[in-house]
């Protein structure tokens, strides 16, 4: 397997050395393999965009090393001409209409597919003559999605691409991405907080929280990695004794705890103790991992 992105002890701080310093990305190490769909998951402000900016050479790392296609991406034309990164908050020139975006993009992407772009414009119903400034949030996202897909860049980033898209358009994006990926394999990084919607697309998942990577695993492995046990409080407490609890919540005499995967004998033991077992979705797993084991009801965390 080949790594497209390799980060070692990567950190990005904003602000001075003393007071007011913000750690946007802190001591992050990971590698992303070629020709897979990677999910970069995390809450708003977790550091997803900063991390992507570091990978694409748009930000300068405070410390650590980042290699993309084997070299530093900063001001590296050979590396940067392989990538496409339309940010969720992408700004466009004031005088640009949709057609200007789609007219200039082909100069930058060697693999640009004009027929595919035209088809996507049709499918997403993007008004090509409208000014970028006049587009709705969803239409703006759609333009970013179209550029990202039609660019066929060897390393393509989608930064919260679904913002403002309706359910039909979101499904269209997921389906198109998957179908096109099958025909034209490339490395895709999808940053999102709508985890359940994309969980079937993702092959590899990185969860970032407060600038640190807290999960870096294959999606398949992750899906079965945790289980919810539900039952009388006493029974739950007794069962989780000595285990790492990702998340715990209670209602009256009932309690529920999220714990790591159980093997077959443990599952039987749990059932015999009068406990019910329930699978944990990727989204729930991420939510629980990023909140920690103390439920905070003020954050609406009662599940």
């Amino acid at each position: 397997m080949s790594a497209v992105i390799e980060a070692r002890s990567l950190s990005k701080y904003y602000g001075g050395e003393r007071g007011g310093r913000v750690h946007a990305v802190e001591d992050v190490s990971f590698s992303l393999e070629e020709n897979r769909i990677h999910g970069l998951l995390g809450r708003n402000g977790a550091g997803k965009t900063t991390l992507m900016q570091l990978v694409t050479g748009q930000e300068f790392a405070t410390r650590g090393e980042i290699r993309v296609f084997g070299a530093s991406p900063v001001e590296n034309a050979r590396v940067l001409s392989q990538l496409c990164f339309i940010k969720e908050s992408q700004r466009y020139p004031d005088d640009f209409r949709v057609k200007h975006v789609l007219g200039t993009a082909p100069h930058f992407f060697a693999n640009w597919d004009p027929a595919f772009a035209a088809e996507l414009i049709e499918r997403f119903r993007v008004p090509v003559n409208r000014r970028m400034k006049k587009l709705s949030r969803g239409q703006l996202s759609a333009v970013g999605v179209i550029v990202g897909l039609a660019s066929r860049a060897p390393l393509t980033f989608f930064d919260e691409p679904y913002l403002g898209l309706d359910a039909v358009a979101r499904q269209l994006f997921y389906d198109t991405l998957l179908a096109d990926f099958a025909e034209n394999p490339r490395t895709i990084v999808l940053s999102t907080h709508l985890i359940d919607e994309v969980s079937n697309l993702l092959e590899h998942v990185i969860v970032i929280d407060e600038g640190r990577i807290i999960i870096d695993a294959d999606a398949e492995e992750l899906r079965g990695s945790a289980v919810d046990i539900v039952g009388p409080r006493g029974a739950v407490d007794a069962f989780v004794e000595g285990r790492e609890v990702l998340h715990r919540t209670g209602l009256g005499g009932l309690a529920s705890a999220t714990i790591a995967r159980l093997d077959e004998t443990e599952r039987i033991a749990a059932r015999e103790a009068g406990l019910e077992l329930a699978p944990v979705s990727l989204q729930q797993l991420v939510v629980r991992t990023t909140i920690g084991d103390t439920p905070d009801l003020s954050k609406g965390d009662n599940a």
Partner: protein, 257 residues
């Protein structure tokens, strides 16, 4: 998954095509950089012509040449230079984040933007020189008026000198816009404040220096000695400085949402 080796990237396109695509990005909507400025200039010209018509209709033959001399100092065509300054600011500020998203380096973007400004300067200088030639051929558009052949643009000079004068003016305004835009892109509002403060100190400090050393007459004398062509050529010094400084500032700039 065994050992992880680095994936390799295909070679980048040749450097000139990487710079040229920035020119195409900035001029993607030809209205902004080419069509609109000429339309506005044409409108201003027409209005000026009508005003000359009104003035000369109300002046006797003896006052006429006096008025024609005054019109040689007309600043009507200056709008187009200010427009180019704003164009430079907009082009850099708003094309920079998109170019980087498209996978350009800062170096390619900056060189491409500067190439765009030089090419636009050539185009506008040629257009204005053609205007000046027509103005001469038609004896001031039939009224003895002056729009393109004003004192600041070389007046009665031959066409290639006039072309040079226009070219210097355009470069000066484009690259003044470049440095301010670069400061803004790199440091946002605080960058602009610093840029304006430095400019203000240079102007006020220079004025104070000339006043205290009582050398204002030397400045005016030098400008008079240099003539329009010589003085305007000196505008290339700040233009080149702004370009160089703008390049350095943009080399470490980061696109922000």
């Amino acid at each position: 998954m065994t050992t992880i080796t680095a994936a390799t990237a295909a070679p980048a396109p040749p450097v000139f095509s990487r710079i040229w695509r920035i020119v195409r990005l900035i001029t993607a909507n030809p209205f902004t950089a080419i069509v609109t400025p000429w339309l506005i200039l044409g409108t201003i010209f027409l209005l000026n012509w009508l005003i000359w018509l009104i003035i000369f209709a109300n002046l006797g033959a003896d006052q006429r040449s006096n008025a024609q001399e005054g019109i040689q100092w007309s600043g009507a065509a200056f709008y187009i230079f200010v427009y180019m300054l704003v164009l430079a600011v907009q082009a850099i500020n708003l094309s920079f984040p998109l170019a980087l998203g498209y996978g350009s380096t800062r170096r390619e973007f900056t060189l491409g933007a500067m190439l765009t400004f030089v090419l636009l300067s050539v185009m506008y200088a040629v257009g204005m020189t053609i205007g000046a030639a027509l103005e001469k051929a038609t004896d001031g558009w039939g009224l003895g008026g002056t729009f393109f052949r004003t004192i600041y643009f070389g007046g009665d000079e031959v066409w290639y000198v006039q072309l040079w004068v226009y070219f210097c003016w355009f470069l000066f305004f484009f690259f003044t816009g470049t440095i301010f835009a670069a400061m803004y892109v790199r440091w946002k509002a605080s960058g602009l404040i610093v840029a304006f403060a430095v400019l203000a100190f240079l102007v006020v400090g220079g004025g104070a220096l000339l006043t205290f050393t009582e050398t204002w007459h030397v400045l005016w004398g030098t400008i008079a000695d240099l003539g329009v062509v010589g003085s305007v050529s000196w505008l290339l010094v700040p233009a080149v400085l702004s370009a160089g400084l703008g390049y350095l500032v943009l080399r470490r700039a980061t696109p922000r949402g």
